[in-house]
Symmetry: C2
Subunit: 202 residues, 2 copies
DNA sequence: TATTATTGACTGAAATTTCAGTCAATAGAT
DNA sequence: ATCTATTGACTGAAATTTCAGTCAATAATA
């Protein structure tokens, strides 16, 4: 499908709008999202947003979809082969508390989506799928750890994954709300991992 | 201070407004809260809300304060003296996932407050204090459990309390978002408690 | 290939909707 | 008669959505 130059540029614009939307959601929340702000941030006319997306709600849906895709891509990124499963998992979970704007952005959008899903049924399937992806990745890494000996034998991958992801979500929301510092959050996560997966290998 | 009939009635009205606000927040979130809806729900005029509270923001602050007080009162409710510390803690944490509207209401308001605090610094102290109360209560019950033998010796009350409360918050947000069923949430909580506090006594 | 028609991306401004917040007037208690 | 609680109608400022129209890229035609 030879995309014409015009279509190419349009796709890029759409992408710019979504990126701008993500930044705005990260800064003001889903409910605090203003279409005009998005347009300004993306450097385009407000009405163009309505041309590409049906409505403000459609824009939100689209940005959540994109966020899921980005997160999946991030998970797929092979995290240094020489690390054992346990270390990879550590990196993945602790990475949730990064100060890097683009990582924090994902965390905020995700947390906003979950919170909003309680009032907006349209978001539920999206949030469900994202949660499943995340949990699957964690339990896969636990199995890797079981195989390479970095995780204590007898660990239940699915159960530990469910508990750890829920814990991370709780810690993350406290962290985003400034109730918990980054260091404390990571310390709590580490102690929980030790309980779930046995003492870390040296 | 002999409260006159007028003051009495006014106080009651204030209470009705706050109760209505809590219901609306539970249904639409803090960000979805509209003062006209509150007025309709409480059966009073919009302007009366501004008479009793300075602004929409003041109303939100007030409802969060009230929610904290309600929660504290709920915590204080002596949970049957014959239960050991462990059982009391179980009841307390599992109670978070009750289907009772008034309990679920507390959970939603709390979760909304936390989510909103990420964008509204005015809410941070309130959320902090509520988190501290909650964590203190949990760690106190763990100490009770240590004393009566229902919690494994060597358990660190503060650490376990921090991890358990974070876990409950994560489970709760998934539960409210319909990502997790009540039964699953409780099962995960139980398995986590077993890890933190040792096997439950028979 | 030069000319003409058609489509797709995009804009600016106006229409509509949505809300928080105000105020003067009134009812009711003391 | 005074003060307090309460009302209902109103305002103003955002914010969302719609729409008529421009311009450049592509497709069709000669």
């Amino acid at each position: 499908m030879a995309r014409t130059a015009r279509a190419e540029k349009a796709a890029e614009t759409r992408g710019r709008i979504l990126a701008a939307t993500a930044r705005m959601v990260a800064g003001h929340g889903i409910r605090g999202l203003r279409v005009e702000d998005v347009a300004k941030e993306a450097g385009i006319a407000v009405s163009l947003i309505y041309y590409h997306f049906k409505s403000r709600g459609g824009l939100v849906q689209a940005v959540l979809l994109r966020t899921n895709e980005l997160a999946l891509a991030g998970l797929a990124e092979t995290p240094v082969r020489q690390l054992d499963g346990r270390a990879q998992l550590s990196a993945l979970l602790e990475g949730e508390f990064s100060e890097l704007p683009e990582v924090r952005e994902l965390a905020v959008v995700w947390s906003e989506a979950t919170a909003s899903a309680a009032f907006d049924p349209a978001l539920v399937p999206l949030v469900r799928e994202a949660a499943r992806n995340w949990e699957d990745t964690v339990s896969r890494l636990i199995r890797t750890g079981l195989a390479d000996g970095s995780v204590a034998p007898g660990t239940d991958p699915a159960g530990s994954a469910a508990r750890l992801t829920a814990l991370v979500e709780g810690l993350s929301s406290k962290w985003l709300a400034s109730v918990l510092g980054r260091a404390e959050a990571i310390a709590l996560l580490r102690s929980a991992m030790a309980r779930e997966l046995g003492p870390p290998p040296p």
